[in-house]
């Protein structure tokens, strides 16, 4: 899986590109908590984006529910470290609505500390770049397939 940064929502592109460059992450997905993709970096195939978005949204929903049952606000971030790769999942609140950031990084190239450090900058940049007074519209089930196709076309330039 390899490719440049592409965005459905143009305002996310510059913050995303800076984050990828600074943090040295391999794959990044910006999406709504429902799994609607806003931008991606590093993915070469639409099917990988769809899988990652669905899994990321499911993890986010699970941890949010766990936090709710503990009487806590949603967790600020979630990190999972494997043998060679790490996964970092976190939420940014913007004027356009909440944005979930899913990042996969190579442990030989960067570290969780660096990803967390530059995530703070990404969050600031996304808040600064988000169009004011334009809350993300919910995707209705009837529009879902068309929205998904449009998003994937934007992300992979088809």
């Amino acid at each position: 899986m390899k490719g440049g940064a592409r965005a459905v929502e143009a305002w996310t592109l510059e913050p995303l590109t800076t984050f990828v460059h600074e943090a040295g992450v391999r794959l990044v997905l910006l999406m709504t908590p429902a799994g609607q993709v806003l931008a991606q970096s590093g993915f070469a195939r639409a099917v990988d984006v769809m899988s990652a978005a669905a899994l990321g949204a499911a993890i986010f929903a699970s941890t949010t529910e766990m936090a709710r049952q503990l009487g806590e606000p949603p967790f600020a971030g979630l990190a999972h470290q494997g043998e060679k790769h790490g996964v970092f999942l976190a939420l940014v609140t913007t004027a356009r609505g909440p944005v979930v950031v899913l990042a996969v990084y190579d442990l030989a190239a960067t570290s969780l500390g660096l990803v967390q450090l530059f995530f703070e900058q990404l969050a600031t940049d996304l808040r600064g770049a988000s169009p004011k007074g334009s809350e993300q519209k919910q995707v209705l089930a009837a529009d879902f397939e068309r929205e998904l196709t449009d998003s994937l076309n934007s992300l992979f330039g088809r």
Binding site: Q81, L107, T110, S111, L112, G113, L114, Q116, L117
Partner: protein, 117 residues
């Protein structure tokens, strides 16, 4: 070692005149384990960047065939960063004024590294 133990390991370092703060950092992740810093020093940023630098320095030393690093001292215009890696993979980091007694800080860093190893 308990969290209190890690914090106690830093007391000797922060007691040296000119030291602005000290931290125990995980070498692989760049995360802060314990810190004792003056206001205005961003511990998470120093930890992440120092660990990243330590990893790269380690690779350079390995490639140069000079063995693993035991102490490094980065002198900057307005301060200095002094680091000693512990055997456990932790890094003991000190942020200091430019004119600090580096020998004394090194001694305290080595003591702290021994106690967290």
């Amino acid at each position: 070692m308990s969290a209190h133990g890690y914090e106690a390991a830093l007391h000797g370092i922060t007691g040296v005149r000119g030291v602005r703060g000290a931290m125990v950092v995980t070498g692989a992740d760049g995360l802060v384990v314990a810190e004792s810093l003056m206001e205005g020093i961003k511990g998470t940023a120093v930890a992440a960047l120092a660990a990243s630098l330590a990893t790269r320095l380690g690779r350079a030393m390995e490639a140069g065939g000079v063995g693993s690093d035991v102490f490094w001292h980065l002198q900057a215009e307005r301060g200095a960063l002094l680091v000693v890696p512990a055997r456990s993979g932790m890094l003991i980091v000190a942020v200091a004024d430019p004119g600090v007694n580096a020998g004394l800080v090194r001694l305290e860093l080595l003591r702290a590294a021994e106690s967290v190893a």
